[in-house]
């Protein structure tokens, strides 16, 4: 009797079953197998699996089968697909894409195998079908593709008419400066090179939709940036120019005039930039939320004076700006009326000039005042701060850290490589930042068990803790942490000579949910190399 049920009815019945029962049911008969597959497909869709990442694919049969299954089971509901870092074959890639009609995000970074032959999507019928499948694609990453060429780029991009976000980071772009400055010209799309000229043509075509572009590591020269910025109708919101070392301060200033709507700009590693660039950004990009200025080693305090104008700034990365002493930074970020209220993430890692006295701390009128009421400019104003990185800011003193680090919402903090930090500072930080979830205190050689005995109880939410190379810590600290930090997941005690493997094992036995403990070269390990 059960055999007379039509497939849809059987599918409906089996869809009530949990996964393990569906598997058993699929082995009953051929009809039940088909129904179970259908039921699985529906339930996977209902469970909302919409993102999948498949790395390490290659040309093998196993990879091909995986891709087929993914297309069949998850394809109909898939919104985000990442094949980054693998080497799928062109055929299996096309087969997969055709099964994913609702795809919005596609990451092909490093999938050089798809572009080596230059024949991807060369067949018009294939291209037409892929175009239908990718009609809703919004975001495409083609980062790190050394074989990407004009022809293959054009074919792929023409299959994605709704594209809004594009990454070409670390692709090998060629720049013919004369053509950049001149008219569009009649240069044909090259089958072997990826030219800026062709990219510019693409950007002009899609100016109305394109709002995020990543050209990190492409060696973009100033003239090219200018040509991009002045494309008619282009309103960029996010632009990443990480490691574009040829960019000049003038080019950045021009960009700020051309694209005032930018909300996210990454200029980290553009080592030629000087203070003028930062001033131009501060004054020109009023809506900026994310600013990356890492490794800009020519930036000084002068450049920081206008940062307060960025009222919507949420995250600021000034790591390795080693000439910034912090005086102007505190002034502009910390002043009562001028501070950007939304700043949640601040990185000043390796800013070796960052000084503590009178720069970062508030001017306490008297030591009698226990509550730190800021009297002058102070980073204490950044009460919304959630992430702070002060790694290796070696000039910061223990006392100033204790005073400044009072951030109730802070979740992530790095004080690694701060040799000045003592137990007193640690305890003060613990009291001031009770919501910490991730803490790095690597190489803080003055921290001892006494400090941790007091500090641990203030951090019940701690999940990640790095104590590597803290030479004075012993298993007493591990005990203190074990009792207080019940949510801990990851612990690093590598190279702590005072902690031995037995203590580590004891700790792990007591807190089994700690999924990862780094314990290389802990106490007693012989660090001498034998050659």
């Amino acid at each position: 009797m059960a055999e007379s049920l039509p497939l849809e009815m059987l599918t409906y019945i089996l869809s009530f079953l949990p996964l393990s029962d569906q598997k058993e049911a699929s082995l009953v008969s051929r009809a039940w197998y088909c129904a179970a597959q259908n039921a699985l497909r529906e339930s996977l869709g209902l469970r909302g699996i919409s993102c999948i990442s498949l790395t390490n694919l290659d040309g093998s049969l196993a990879s091909h089968k995986v891709l087929q299954s993914v297309a069949y089971h998850l394809g109909p509901h898939l919104q985000s697909l990442c094949l980054g870092g693998g080497s799928p074959t062109e055929a299996s890639f096309v087969a997969l894409i055709l099964g994913c009609p609702t795809l919005r995000i596609l990451d092909l970074s490093g999938c050089n195998s798809l572009f080596t032959s230059g024949m991807l999507l060369a067949q018009p019928e294939t291209a037409q079908s892929v175009r239908q499948a990718l009609s809703g694609l919004r975001e495409l990453s083609l980062a790190g593709l050394r074989d990407l060429a004009d022809l293959s780029f054009n074919r792929l991009s023409s299959c994605a008419p709704s594209l809004e976000r594009l990454s070409l980071a670390y692709c090998h772009l060629t720049f013919e400066l004369s053509l950049v400055r001149g008219s569009i010209g009649s240069q044909d799309a090259s089958p072997s090179q990826f030219s800026f000229h062709n990219l510019l043509r693409f950007v002009k075509e899609r100016a109305g939709r394109l709002h995020a572009l990543d050209l990190s590591g492409t060696g973009l020269p100033p003239e090219a940036l200018q040509a991009l910025g002045q494309v008619a109708g282009l309103h960029l919101q996010e632009l990443s120019l990480h490691n574009c070392r040829d960019l000049s301060t003038e080019a950045v200033a021009t960009l700020c005039r051309q694209q005032p709507g930018l909300t996210s700009l990454d200029l980290s590693g553009c080592s030629e930039l000087t203070d003028g660039a930062l001033l131009a950004v501060s004054r020109g990009l009023r809506h900026l939320r994310h600013l990356g200025l890492g490794k800009l080693q020519r930036l000084t305090d002068v450049g920081c004076t206008a940062l307060g104008a960025l009222r919507e700034l949420q995250s600021l990365n000034m790591a390795e700006c080693c000439l910034v002493s912090g005086r102007e930074l505190a002034q502009t970020l910390g002043s009562v009326h001028g501070s950007p209220p939304h700043l949640t993430s601040l990185s000043l890692a390796y800013c070796s000039s960052l000084k503590s006295h009178l720069e970062l701390e508030h001017r306490a009128s008297d030591l009698k005042d226990p509550c730190p009421e800021p009297q002058g400019p102070s980073l204490l104003m950044l009460q919304a701060l959630q992430e702070l990185d002060l790694t290796a800011c070696s000039k910061l003193t223990d006392a100033s850290l204790a005073k400044v680090l009072q951030f109730p919402q802070l979740r992530q903090l790095s004080l690694s490589l701060l040799p000045a930090l003592t137990d007193m500072g640690l305890v003060a930080v613990a009291r001031g930042c009770p919501s910490l979830e991730r803490l790095a205190l690597s190489h803080c050689s003055h921290l001892s068990d006494e400090g941790w005995a007091q500090a641990a109880s203030s951090w019940p939410r701690l999940q990640h803790l790095n104590l590597s190379s803290c030479s004075q810590l012993t298993e007493q600290t591990l005990d203190a942490i074990r009792q207080a930090c019940r949510q801990l997941r990851v612990l690093d005690v590598a190279m702590c000579p005072g902690i031995n493997m037995a203590a580590v094992r004891h700790f792990q036995a007591q807190l089994p949910q700690v999924s990862c403990i780094q314990s290389r070269f802990v106490g007693g390990a012989d660090l001498t190399l034998t050659l």
Partner: protein, 147 residues
């Protein structure tokens, strides 16, 4: 109470309360299509896919449930439950092997969602926790993977 006539698979004619009959979306659509009103003409509504025994069971089920409040909107994203079958329904569905499936088919054809769900859940509870061999025995299914 007004009633309508239903002609089933073997030609036999049944009279059923209109209210009960209208719980079936299929019958309701047929009534509208055929232009019948509550009073009913004498022309019976044809239901060739339903047998007498099953129709009796369906009517019995609906007589019991006709005062039930309408069920809440189906939340598609939630896991489907099978442990919420009312006691009366459990007793009602303790029948021989073939009947639950016939009821399922009838409920599907007549488009009576509640009955369909209850009968499906009953069958599902018969499948849960069983190995394929046990499922074969329970439902008397031929093993035919070679076809």
């Amino acid at each position: 109470m007004p009633s309508i006539k239903l002609q089933i698979s073997d030609g036999e004619i049944f009279e059923v309360d209109v209210e009960i009959a209208k719980q079936s979306v299929t019958i309701m659509i047929m009534l509208e299509d055929l232009g019948m009103d509550d009073e009913g003409d004498d022309d019976p509504v044809p239901l060739p896919n339903v047998s007498a025994a099953i129709l009796k069971k369906v009517a019995e089920w609906y007589t019991h449930h006709k005062d039930d409040p309408p069920p809440p909107e189906d939340d598609e994203s939630k896991e489907k439950q099978t442990d919420d079958i009312p006691v009366w329904d459990q007793e009602f569905l303790k029948v021989d092997q073939g009947t639950p499936f016939e009821l399922i088919l009838a409920a599907n054809y007549l488009d009576i969602k509640d009955l369909l769900n209850v009968t499906c859940k009953t069958v599902v509870n018969m499948i849960k926790g069983k190995t394929p061999e046990e499922i074969h025995k329970t439902f008397n299914i031929k093993i035919n993977f070679t076809e």
